[in-house]
């Protein structure tokens, strides 16, 4: 069993507070993704879980044991760094065996474990090479192999895919998912890319400026974002935020009186008849193949993005009218918090 719990975790560097009090629970076998913009404290959080940084306040509990005072090596975590941090003067085999050698594991067992990990990650032909002789994807797999070999309770990934090219990223995302299913281990993954978060996570933790904005499954975050930040962060292209006055005048959606903004995702717009929705003028159209991304302007000069079918041929300057199904319309109050449909 490997569960993680963070209680009121705070971190301060000199006078700057970076983490302002985070409470979180991670269950055994979950794939949790910490996502957020740069500087939100997600890497700091990961390092505190790993034991590389000391929290200023609060507790880190692994398997319901307080581990604040336990050293990084003894917490049972294994970390895959963003820059892989492979030992450049050692071969791939030695890189993976280093941790076990330090723990005085017998040589035969080391060899068995390294071979297993190498098989799992298809590193067999590369075992005698140095990191300098490997490609980016191969290095990343060695870094993952180094973590696997230690049989940790929790895997920690610090933006591992950000140094890879786009195509490799997609295939590695898949590999990591499969790895998680095969090993069944608890994995905590940090990224700034919401696509990675949405595709890989069992649970997503959205962070901003050292605070948790929302915790939930990808579906929860997509369909019920709790504030404008999460709503705008999750989903690509970004959700459109429209002033509520415009919407009230145009469409007949049940919107709470406290609403200041309304959010509609680009993919949820549908063409409608005159008077049934919002009037917009097409400015530019981006052809994406299966879809087209239309940049349009509303009557109050604000811009919206609409994702339509690839075959729909909208021309710049054309006026169209669009609306969206009621359950895809999100209302937000003055503080940017989500308003439920039946709120008064």
């Amino acid at each position: 069993m490997s569960t993680l719990e963070l209680r009121s975790l705070r971190k301060q560097f000199d006078q700057t507070a970076v983490i302002h009090g985070i409470d979180l629970k991670v269950e055994h076998g979950e794939f949790v993704v910490f996502v957020g913009p740069s500087g939100c404290g997600k890497s700091t959080l990961l390092r505190m879980i790993a034991g590389l940084d000391l929290p200023t306040d609060g507790e880190v509990r692994i398997d319901d044991q307080r581990v604040n005072e336990v050293g990084a090596a003894d917490r049972g975590c294994a970390m895959v760094f963003q820059s892989y941090a492979l030992y450049p003067h050692m071969s791939v085999y030695d890189n993976m065996a280093f941790g076990l050698e330090n723990a005085n594991v017998p040589r035969s067992e080391i060899e068995k474990k390294v071979q297993e990990a190498a098989n799992l990650l298809r590193l067999d032909p590369l075992l005698q090479r140095r990191p300098t002789q490997l490609s980016g994807g191969q290095r990343q797999r060695v870094a993952i192999g180094r973590a696997i070999v230690r049989n940790p309770k929790i895997f920690l990934f610090d933006e591992p895919l950000s140094n890879l090219d786009a195509e490799l990223r997609v295939s590695m995302r898949n590999e990591l998912r499969e790895l998680h299913q095969r090993l069944g281990a608890t994995m905590i993954y940090v990224t700034h890319d919401q696509v990675e978060a949405m595709t890989m996570a069992d649970k997503i933790v959205v962070l901003r400026a050292g605070l948790v904005e929302q915790v939930g499954t990808p579906v929860d975050l997509y369909e019920k974002p709790c504030n404008t930040f999460v709503a705008g962060f999750i989903g690509s292209p970004r959700m459109n935020f429209i002033a509520v006055d415009l919407v009230r005048a145009a469409a007949a959606w049940p919107i709470s009186p406290q609403a200041v903004q309304v959010g509609i995702r680009p993919e949820h717009w549908k063409l409608c008849g005159p008077g049934e929705g919002l009037v917009m003028v097409v400015k530019t159209v981006e052809y994406l193949g299966a879809q087209r991304l239309v940049h349009a302007q509303l009557s109050d000069q604000s811009r919206v993005e609409v994702l339509v079918e690839g075959e729909m041929n909208l021309m710049p300057g054309q006026t169209v009218e669009m609306n969206a199904p009621a359950h895809h319309v999100h209302a937000f109050d003055k503080q940017g918090q989500r308003l439920e449909k039946d709120a008064v």
């Binding site: 941090a85 450049p88 003067h89 280093f98 330090n102």
Partner: protein, 349 residues
């Protein structure tokens, strides 16, 4: 062939550009200035004592030809004699009294001829006096001096590398209170001229009982601020993430130092090793004050002692100098490779 092409590169394609002329002139002059004394030294070390004191000096080692003549136990020097009838004949000289020399024809040893020394000139042949070198090991305790120098250099370099790298590791990779002050303190000692601390160093060595011992030369100067500074600056470029990854890999601090930081600092260590070898091998002052017994002398002290007040045995001195030059040259040539090999910085992208 490619080496030759490299060495004879010019800017102008067909004829020489004026910058080529200047460059090559400069290079040739530089080569001559730096290399000529060394070449002269090596050539002279093969000359016999007599040839060295000859004036005008010759470049190649020439010695006078000698010949064995019947009836004489030792070989007689050969001269080219100009006779009254104008012809020249090679004759051996038995002895010389004032300006008249007694010469005999090697073929007809009974006939003696009195020749004015101005009528004769020596017959020279190129002779390499190997005995200059062999005598060193035979007649003198040159082997001991060589061993002392080698021992001091090797052990001191190893200790220097070990201690300086440990200090540099602590100063570069650990954050502790007063880290900057300690570092500044270490660097500040560079401002003290060595001559000022000479007497205190001698007193301390004496008290500890290391006078007239090779360790008395090795230990006092093992921790050098230059070494610490050089290694610290290099270790700062080793990514912290490597150290953190090693920590998470259960590595003790010693293992992190020994298996990760030290191998990755190899280029800087090579530089420090070269400095240390060259300095220790040529060091004169410290051995001079510490070692007074002959059997502990280093090569430099031995070279010094060969220069007597009234008489200097130049041929032995030159031979010893050449031998003293060799090891440092070899070490430098060998270690230079390591400086140009970049090892760290490739496992982290």
């Amino acid at each position: 062939m490619s080496t030759l092409n490299f060495l004879l590169r010019t800017r102008g394609r067909q004829s020489l550009d004026w910058t080529d002329v200047l460059s090559y002139a400069y290079l040739v002059i530089g080569l001559f200035t730096m290399f000529a004394p060394v070449v002269w030294l090596v050539m002279s070390s093969f000359k016999t004592e007599a040839a060295i004191s000859q004036f005008p000096p010759s470049f190649l080692p020439y010695a006078q030809k000698t010949v064995m003549v019947e009836g004489h136990a030792k070989p007689l020097p050969l001269f080219l004699v100009k006779r009254e009838d104008g012809s020249q004949k090679e004759m051996a000289q038995v002895n010389r009294i004032g300006i008249m020399a007694n010469m005999i024809d090697p073929a007809a040893p009974e006939q003696r001829l009195q020749v004015n020394i101005r009528q004769r000139e020596p017959v020279n042949e190129m002779k390499f006096a190997w005995n200059n070198y062999t005598d060193l090991f035979g007649k003198f305790t040159f082997g001991t001096y060589l061993w002392n120098s080698v021992f001091i250099t090797v052990v001191a370099t190893l200790l220097t590398l070990l201690i300086n790298s440990m200090a540099a590791f602590a100063l570069s990779k650990y954050k502790f209170k007063g880290q900057k002050s300690v570092f500044l303190l270490i660097i500040a000692t560079l401002m003290i001229p060595p001559t000022i601390i000479l007497v205190p160093v001698f007193l301390v060595i004496n008290e500890v009982g290391l006078l007239n011992s090779l360790w008395g030369v090795i230990l006092p100067a093992v921790a050098t601020p230059t070494g610490v500074f050089l290694l610290r600056q290099y270790m700062l470029t080793i990514p912290d993430e490597l150290i953190e990854a090693a920590r998470m890999d259960h590595a003790s601090e010693w293992r992190i130092y020994w298996r990760i930081v030290l191998p990755l600092s190899a280029p800087a260590l090579a530089v420090l090793a070269i400095f240390s070898v060259m300095w220790r091998w040529n060091d004169f002052l410290l051995p001079l004050i510490v070692l007074s017994k002959n059997e502990f002398f280093t090569l430099q002290l031995a070279l010094n002692s060969f220069q007597g007040e009234l008489n200097t045995q130049w041929h032995y001195l030159l031979a010893m100098t050449v031998i003293t030059l060799l090891p440092v040259t070899l070490v430098f040539a060998f270690l230079q490779r390591y400086i140009t090999t970049g090892i760290a910085g490739a496992g982290v992208k």
